[in-house]
């Protein structure tokens, strides 16, 4: 049974950290479904949200334990699905000839998309939501072929009043 978990890691904002994480997953044969990383409110830290698929709980605990050994990773935890809020953004360029444009735009607005660019025969839109929401909305556009698409990968945060993981930069050199 495949086992999917969302990991939230607070890592040192430093060149090479992504390579260390990606290298570990490659080396040990773990599967990353998505990974997203960006600096946080504290410039010394990057937060990574990694969606990991493992064969079982044991492999998942190995992933966490092996990741914990990377010196640049300060905190790492599995987000509790019940308590987490997920968000992902996507940009999609749909094929849409001018005679169907109005119809398309109505559908896009009904689904809370923002229109970014209207070309001769395409419309580019963006949407933010949970990965499931994005999938669901996409399914409604079946009659408009997708020319190009990009998704950011999931980012997640705990739905609570306190930070999920505390930042502690005491031992950082840089």
């Amino acid at each position: 049974m495949a086992n999917k978990k969302v990991l939230s890691a607070l890592v040192r904002n430093h060149p090479g950290v992504l390579q260390r994480v990606a290298g570990l997953f490659y080396r040990r044969g773990y599967n990353i479904e998505t990974i997203s990383a960006c600096a946080t409110e504290n410039p010394k830290f990057t937060r990574m949200t990694i969606v990991v698929v493992t064969s079982d709980e044991l492999e998942m605990s190995q992933v966490i334990r092996q990741m914990s050994k990377i010196q640049d990773i300060r905190r790492i935890a599995i987000l509790d699905e019940e308590k987490a809020i997920y968000s992902e953004s996507m940009m999609v360029k749909f094929r849409c000839e001018s005679d169907r444009r109005t119809e398309f735009l109505n559908l896009a607005y009904r689904n809370h998309m923002n229109v970014l660019y209207i070309g001769d025969s395409t419309v580019t839109v963006t949407l933010t939501g949970s990965p499931d929401d994005l999938d669901e909305v996409l399914s409604k556009f079946g009659e408009y072929p997708i020319v190009e698409m990009t998704r950011s990968g999931m980012s997640a945060i705990e739905a609570s009043d306190r930070p999920f993981v505390e930042m502690d930069d005491a031992e950082f050199i840089n």
């Binding site: 390579q19 605990s61 334990r65 010196q71």
Partner: protein
């Protein structure tokens, strides 16, 4: 005070208690070597023939002394030549700091002469690595490198220092080295372990390199004696328990004894200390010690349930965990069980004779007479290494220096140099094979330059014996490239390097030649001619259990 980067490197080395480094100069480390010239009264630099030799020397120095080994190499090829040595140290959890030069920061990323992204290259084979881009971070990074190398599960750390950083000045103040923080040990886990040990009828201990890394051999002996638990060692654990003790069961795993293998299958409790259930020990991870409750003690939580699922894990320093266990376990006796294991051992016979010719068995028998309990045995990798594991009399920790995890042929020459430099008053013997020896025999020149009194015994069977043994067992005697038909005369070779060369062919020459080699008190190579059909036995084939043990071949 303001110091340049190279002086800062030397100052931090001294601050960290380093008085010996191994290395090889080059363009990018000219400034560092200029500082080493200045600091030569306080830091001894050992120049090897090749950076690989220096990396193994730093590793052998660390294993035999317990201190952190330090190696210095230049950028590009100097740095990449360290790779095998760093990977060897990583696999066996050896504390090492490698300092590499690199091209100046403005030239980084431009494919400059002798530039290589060594932090990228060594990312998977170091515990951590650093590229120093700012002179003000040099000292903190070096201190952190030493702290990481010796904290928790030790390992190699690489610090890449661009040439301009070694010349720039920064404010420097000496600091007292930070002590690694010890992990808190759960008293609940200790209580559970004590209960399991007290209940066991047929307990055993599987001891690994972690016992030696944690300096826990005394505690291991105390626990084994108090709870009357027999002890088997992984290759990395050899020396952690005295071989002449009634509770000692010898090597465990692929080339371990029948007693160890049968005990593994029949014990009702296995206490694993600082070991990681490698495939060379737990050939079949699913059935390993399947009748036993397993307690796993390790400093690295990532080793828990990685290869073999266990019943109880205790995270912590092996010496601390063992001393808590010693305090709490009940005294008991398992005489019948211990006798049974020794009886299993005597059920199989693997003695391999060869008429009046010298044999590994006879050579080790004589070596055991000549070597004192504190003397150091280094090995390369192959059949000779397994013969050492099976036949050498291990008595104390840090007296066996061998590449276990990575299985690095060519490791021994450098490792013996490091062991001898770190232990000038101890006898150092290197057991090698003609295959391994050919890989890094260039380091004979280092033995001669520094007059290191290392005795190198080359188990010369003219073939790549271990691979050939597998070709016999699993590849229908198709000896693909394991019989290289080399014409090297090791006696003449040694002499060309300025090292004494000797030869043993017949069994009756062993005693006198080894004695003469030991009496030289200088570097000696002994070409030990042995049959290519003496194998490393017993052997449990990969993935199999004790019932498949091989005791004779050919």
């Amino acid at each position: 005070m303001k110091l340049n980067g190279s002086d800062i490197i030397c100052e931090v080395l001294l601050e960290q208690g380093v008085d010996t480094v191994f290395g090889y100069p080059g363009g990018a480390v000219l400034n560092i070597y200029d500082a080493l010239y200045k600091y030569s009264d306080r830091i001894t630099h050992i120049l090897t023939a090749h950076e690989q030799g220096a990396s193994h020397a730093a590793d052998g120095y660390a294993r035999s002394t317990g201190k952190t080994g330090v190696v210095i190499a230049t950028s590009g090829p100097g740095a990449t030549n360290l790779v095998t040595g760093i990977a060897t140290a990583m696999m066996d959890s050896i504390p090492m700091v490698a300092i590499t030069g690199n091209v100046g920061t403005p030239a980084l990323g431009k494919d400059s002469f002798q530039e290589v992204d060594i932090t990228g290259v060594t990312m998977p084979i170091t515990k951590h690595n650093f590229l120093v881009r700012d002179i003000n971070t040099l000292a903190p990074i070096l201190r952190k490198a030493f702290l990481i190398a010796r904290s928790g599960r030790p390992g190699p750390v690489l610090v890449d220092v661009p040439k301009d950083i070694t010349a720039k000045f920064a404010e420097f103040e000496n600091e007292t080295p930070k002590k690694p923080v010890k992990t808190e040990i759960s008293s609940d886990d200790i209580a559970k372990a004590v209960k399991l040990i007290n209940q066991a009828q047929r307990p055993m201990i599987y001891a690994g390199g972690g016992v030696i890394a944690a300096n826990a051999s005394d505690k291991l002996l105390e626990l084994a004696e108090k709870a009357d638990m027999p002890v088997s060692c992984s290759l990395m654990g050899l020396g952690s328990f005295p071989c002449d003790h009634r509770l000692y069961c010898g090597l465990i795993g692929m080339h371990g004894g029948y007693g160890s293998a049968m005990a593994t299958g029949n014990c009702d409790l296995m206490l694993v200390v600082g070991a990681r259930f490698s495939d060379r020990v737990a050939g079949d991870a699913k059935t390993f010690a399947h009748n036993a409750k397993i307690i796993h003690i390790d400093i690295d939580a990532a080793e828990f349930d990685k290869n073999v699922l266990v019943d109880l894990t205790i995270r912590g320093d092996a010496a601390q965990v063992l001393s808590k266990l010693v305090e709490k376990v009940a005294e008991s006796k398992h005489t019948e069980w211990v006798d049974q294991i020794h009886a299993w051992d005597s059920e199989i016979h693997c003695s391999q004779q060869d008429g009046d010719n010298a044999t590994p068995e006879a050579i080790f028998a004589q070596l055991n007479k000549l070597m004192g309990p504190d003397d150091i045995l280094c090995t390369d990798v192959g059949q000779h290494q397994m013969w050492a594991g099976q036949m050498y009399h291990f008595r104390k920790p840090r007296t066996f220096v061998s590449s276990g995890g990575l299985g690095t042929m060519g490791y021994g020459m450098g490792a013996s140099i490091g062991s001898q430099v770190g232990n000038p008053d101890k006898r150092v013997v290197l057991i090698s094979g003609d295959g391994s020896f050919h890989m890094n025999l260039n380091e004979l020149t280092t033995l001669a330059s520094y007059d290191l009194p290392i005795v190198v015994l080359v188990m010369n069977n003219q073939v790549l014996g271990m691979v050939r043994q597998w070709q016999k067992l699993f590849y229908g005697n198709r000896f693909s490239h394991t019989d290289p038909c080399r014409k090297t005369d090791f006696v003449k070779l040694a002499e060309a390097f300025g090292v004494t060369g000797m030869r043993i062919e017949k069994a009756d020459e062993i005693e006198s030649v080894l004695q003469a080699a030991f009496d030289k008190h200088g570097p000696v190579v002994v070409d030990c001619r042995i049959s290519k059909d003496i194998n490393a036995l017993p052997m449990i084939p990969p993935g199999a259990g004790a019932d498949k043990i091989i005791t004779e071949m050919n």
